[in-house]
Every structure is written in structure tokens, then in C-alpha cells.
């Protein structure tokens, strides 16, 4: 079957920000948002702004319908079994904290083992460190090999110790490595572990099927997939979510509240306390529609083409080191270092040419320590990225080399 393709020039017309002339190479940090997304949010503000689930008038019904419609869109997008398994959160960070708090506190005990990886984002490390410290549990990290890929042999060894939880990202934000998630989940499940997959960098860029993946929890952020900040998703298998206590408590997550005690609302609302990010959730629904319209196979194919082009262009530059695996096994992320030029100096020089480039540790300090470097420069791509933007990056790099020569 031929993969459908799309025309980048046409797509870019949906993103007014490109009229400013920027080359935006920081989509792994946060993506840009098309008019369809901001438009859906604006429509809510201007036509049916009201609180959901609480009022009997028409605009509130309309708001509730649109807010809830995102749940079905997301369910279909990641192929979950039911909308009850789709919990709205602020983003990946909140999703993982929710699991660490509501599932972790009930299920992790003294002496238990939690397996993470050296590729993980701080948001998939720190909540587990806090939990482990509180419970007296232990954490082990799967290392990478010289190509920047996770050491599967090491994971296999750790699984023999019967970890309670295995958590890792499907795609590394710092190096772009695409991890063999299906095999890793299968092995971890076989060893009896509960598995959380951090999908912050995979959901925006490739087809995702949580049931085929077989994980127990899957977390991602709307703002990295053309949606607004403040809306993200926790997917959890129903039995697990049913057995968990609420994360936040208050309005909307309850069925009845009496002085003697409270009964909680059904899934997924049990986890959605207080007034929600209504416009943002509606915007996320529009983002899912937009990506669905492009087709996630086409998204991946486009990014692979851009990544190959960037990988080759950058590898040709003297004194430039690219970290991580070859383009076929990486997402649209390239982390690199320039001899004699600190990433921040490069980013400042690139900024002068309106090239938006990330410099830093990318919230992956354990990985930076492992690589023996304080920071990298990182270029990352998305549906709207065009080769001309890569060429502008190369020009900025050469300019930096001229200045620092």
C-alpha cells in the first residue's frame, strides 16, 4: 500500500507563525499550532464559553459535548479500547505523576525494583525517585550502547529480578532514539511488571496503537502534537485505573459527598478534579483531527526524509559530532556538538538568523552525564519542517565556526 503524502508548502499556510520568517527547529520541545487548533479554541471562547458538566443551559451543553468529543478522537488515535481509559491531564509530566502517586503508592513496597532507562526525561525519573525514597524501593537504569540504543541484554538481566514497574520512553527527546517498545513491553509483561510508556515524543510523530504495544499506561502531551499547552493524556488499562485512588480531589471527581464520606465518580472523571482546561482539550481534539487528516504514516515518512537530509548535511560539517543512531532508527531529532563551540553560543548565533535551536541538557541530565557532556545543541522536526530550514541551520553553524575560528 502506498503511503499518502502531503505538501509541506500547503501545510505551512496553516501555521501563521512562519510568516515571521523563523526557521523553527525545536518541535521536540513544543510544536507550532495550526489555525485549525487556535480556531477551535477561539470558537469556544467566543461562542460557547462556559463550564462543563455543571450547567443546564445550551452553551454549556455545547462546551461539554466538544470537550468530551476529544476523548473519542484520542481513543481512536491511539487505538485504546474505551474512552474510559483516556484521562485528561496537563501533559506527560502530570500523567506520570498521577501514576506514581495513585498506582505507585498502592503497589510499590519496600525492596521493590523499578526499572527506568538512562534515556528517560526527568519527568519519568523524578516522580519515581520520590516514590522510591518514600517506600524504600530501588531503581535501576538500563544503559545505552555506543550507538545510543538501549542495552536490551541489560534489560533482560534486570527483568530476571522481577521488577514491579518498568517505565521508559518510546522515543528519546534528547537523542531521538526510537526504542523497540513492543519487544520491551512484551518482555517486561512476561516478567510480571506493570509497564508505563512515555509517549511524549512518539505520539506526535508516528502511528501509535496502545493495544498492540501492550503497555499498562501511556502518557503524552498535546503541545508537542500541534495542540495547545495545558492538555495532555494519560491512557491506562481499565482494570488498573479502576483499582487506583484519585490523584487530585475536589469538585467533579465525586459522585456524592457526605460528611461521613465520599464516593468517587466513574472513569475517567475520577481523575479529573476541578474545572478543567476546556479550551485546551478542545484544541487538542482539533490537533488530533489535523494529524489524522495528514495520516501518521505520512507524518513519519516526511520526518524521515527531513531527518535523513539533516543527518547528512550535519555529518558533512568538520568538527561536528552527531549523537545517537542513524536516521532509520531515530525520530526527527538530531542532537549534536561542535568542537570548540558551546551549544549556547551556537544557539545565540543561530537566533541572530532567526533559527530556533535548542541548547542544553534537554531534561535528560543522567544521559548527558553518561555521554560525558554538559549539553548538546538539538534540532528537531515536524510536519511543517522543510529542507530550507535545515540549510539555514547549516549556514548558522558555519557562521559560528567562522566567528570562533
Amino acid at each position: 500500500m502506498a503511503i499518502q503524502t502531503f505538501d509541506v508548502a500547503t501545510i505551512r499556510k496553516d501555521f501563521p507563525i512562519f510568516e515571521t520568517g523563523i526557521a523553527y527547529l525545536d518541535s521536540a520541545n513544543t510544536s507550532q499550532r495550526p489555525r485549525q487548533v487556535t480556531g477551535a479554541m477561539l470558537e469556544y471562547f467566543e461562542k460557547f464559553n462556559s463550564n462543563i458538566h455543571r450547567a443546564a443551559y445550551r452553551i454549556a451543553e455545547e462546551a461539554t459535548v466538544r470537550y468530551e468529543a476529544t476523548r473519542e478522537k484520542v481513543r481512536a488515535f491511539i487505538n485504546a479500547a474505551s474512552t474510559k481509559e483516556i484521562v485528561y491531564v496537563r501533559g506527560t509530566t502530570e500523567a506520570i505523576n498521577l501514576v506514581a502517586y495513585s498506582w505507585g503508592r498502592k503497589n510499590i513496597k519496600q525492596g521493590d525494583l523499578i526499572v527506568l532507562t538512562i534515556l528517560d526525561h526527568h519527568s519519568n525519573i523524578v516522580p519515581w525517585q520520590i516514590l522510591a525514597a518514600e517506600k524504600g524501593a530501588q531503581i535501576e537504569y538500563v544503559d545505552i550502547d555506543e550507538k545510543g540504543e538501549l542495552r536490551q541484554d541489560q534489560l533482560a538481566e534486570l527483568l530476571k529480578r522481577g521488577p514491579k514497574l518498568v517505565a521508559f520512553n518510546l522515543v528519546s527527546n534528547a537523542m531521538g532514539t526510537i526504542n523497540p517498545a513492543r519487544e520491551m513491553v512484551a518482555a517486561a509483561k512476561k516478567a510480571g511488571a506493570t509497564v508505563l510508556v512515555d509517549g511524549a515524543q512518539s505520539t506526535p510523530h508516528q502511528p501509535v496503537d496502545v493495544r498492540a504495544l501492550g503497555c499498562d499506561f501511556y502518557a503524552f502531551s498535546g503541545h508537542k502534537m500541534l495542540g495547545p499547552t495545558g492538555a495532555g493524556i494519560l491512557y491506562g488499562r481499565r482494570e488498573l485505573l479502576e483499582a487506583m485512588d484519585p490523584f487530585m480531589a475536589g469538585g467533579d471527581m465525586i459522585k456524592t459527598v457526605r460528611i461521613e464520606g465520599t464516593t468517587y465518580h466513574d472513569l475517567p472523571w475520577k481523575f479529573e478534579a476541578g474545572t478543567q482546561a476546556i479550551a485546551e482539550v478542545i484544541g487538542l481534539g482539533a490537533a488530533v483531527d489535523y494529524l489524522g487528516g495528514l495520516g501518521m504514516d505520512a507524518v513519519r515518512a516526511h520526518e524521515l526524509e527531513i531527518t535523513e537530509y539533516a543527518y547528512e548535511s550535519l555529518s558533512d560539517i568538520d568538527g561536528l559530532t552527531v549523537y545517537g543512531p542513524p536516521p532509520s532508527r531515530r525520530a526527527g531529532v538530531i542532537s549534536f556538538a561542535l568542537e570548540g563551540i558551546h551549544p549556547h553560543d551556537l544557539a545565540t548565533i543561530a537566533d541572530r538568523d532567526q533559527v530556533c535551536l535548542r541548547a542544553g541538557h534537554h531534561c535528560a541530565m543522567p544521559l548527558m552525564t553518561r555521554l560525558g557532556i554538559p549539553a548538546t545543541a538539538r534540532a528537531s522536526f515536524y510536519v511543517y519542517t522543510q529542507k530550507d530550514e535545515i540549510d539555514r541551520l547549516v549556514t548558522s553553524i558555519k557562521e559560528a565556526q567562522r566567528i570562533f575560528a
Binding site: H342, H344, D345, I349, D351, R352, G360, P374, A375, I403
Partner: protein, 131 residues
């Protein structure tokens, strides 16, 4: 904006970055302190020899971006031979003035890292001073 940016990497800043002054360590420093900026991985440390209330000798070490390292190099030039009482008076505006370029909010921590080493390390002052 564009003109300020064009001036960003002035020759003397690049010179201080590539040929740092007073670089290295002192054998038996009276004061030695190091600070880092975890966000970008910049590190600056300074060793001081003080006699009769005067900074007789100073060395710095570290790694990081041109701004953090050039700023440290410039500061050591200024501190060498300076009475401690005078050194105490050096503030953020002095350091930024010495750099002589417009520093964006994102880079201000790089520029002031060496001042933090001076203040926190040598004088034990709270580090909110140079925010």
C-alpha cells in the same frame, strides 16, 4: 536588536574565551570556590590568595560557553591586586558593563556565574544578590 546581536561576539570576548587570563589553579589558596549552572552545564571556580586584605593572586578554572568563561577571565583581571573591600563592591552592573554587550535574559546566568563564585565563595553572601 540585530545590531546588538551582531556585536554579541566581540573580538575581546572571543579573545578572553580562547586565551583566558589567570587560568588554572593556585597551590594553597586562601579561598577556593566553584559554582555551576546546571541548565547549560557551565562551571566556574576561583582560587584566591589574600594577604594584608589584598587579593594578591587569583586563578579561575571551568568550562562552558564563551560568555561564562570570558566573564570569569575579565573578572579575574579586575580582582587581581584589588583590596577585598573593593572587591566586595563589585556588582552585577559592573560585570555586565565590563562585558560590554547586550545580554539576553536567557544568557544572564552565564554572564554572572563568575560574580556568583566571587560572592558566594569568597564572601559567603546569599546568592539572591545577583539575580
Amino acid at each position: 536588536m540585530a545590531t546588538a546581536d551582531d556585536q554579541f561576539y566581540r573580538e575581546y570576548i572571543l579573545d578572553h574565551y580562547k586565551n583566558p587570563r589567570n587560568y588554572g589553579r593556585l597551590e594553597h589558596p586562601d579561598i577556593s570556590h566553584e559554582e555551576d549552572n546546571p541548565l547549560c552545564g557551565d562551571v566556574v571556580g576561583m582560587d584566591f590568595r589574600v594577604s594584608d586584605g589584598v587579593i594578591e593572586d587569583i586563578r579561575f578554572h571551568g568550562r562552558g560557553c564563551a560568555i561564562s568563561q570570558a566573564s570569569a577571565s575579565l573578572l579575574t583581571e579586575r580582582l587581581k591586586g584589588l583590596p577585598l573591600e573593593e572587591a566586595k563592591k563589585i556588582n552585577k552592573d559592573d560585570v555586565l558593563g565590563e562585558l560590554g554587550i547586550e545580554i539576553s535574559p536567557a544568557r544572564i546566568k552565564c554572564a554572572l556565574l563568575s560574580l556568583k563564585v566571587l560572592k558566594v565563595g569568597a564572601y559567603g553572601l546569599a546568592d539572591e544578590d545577583e539575580e
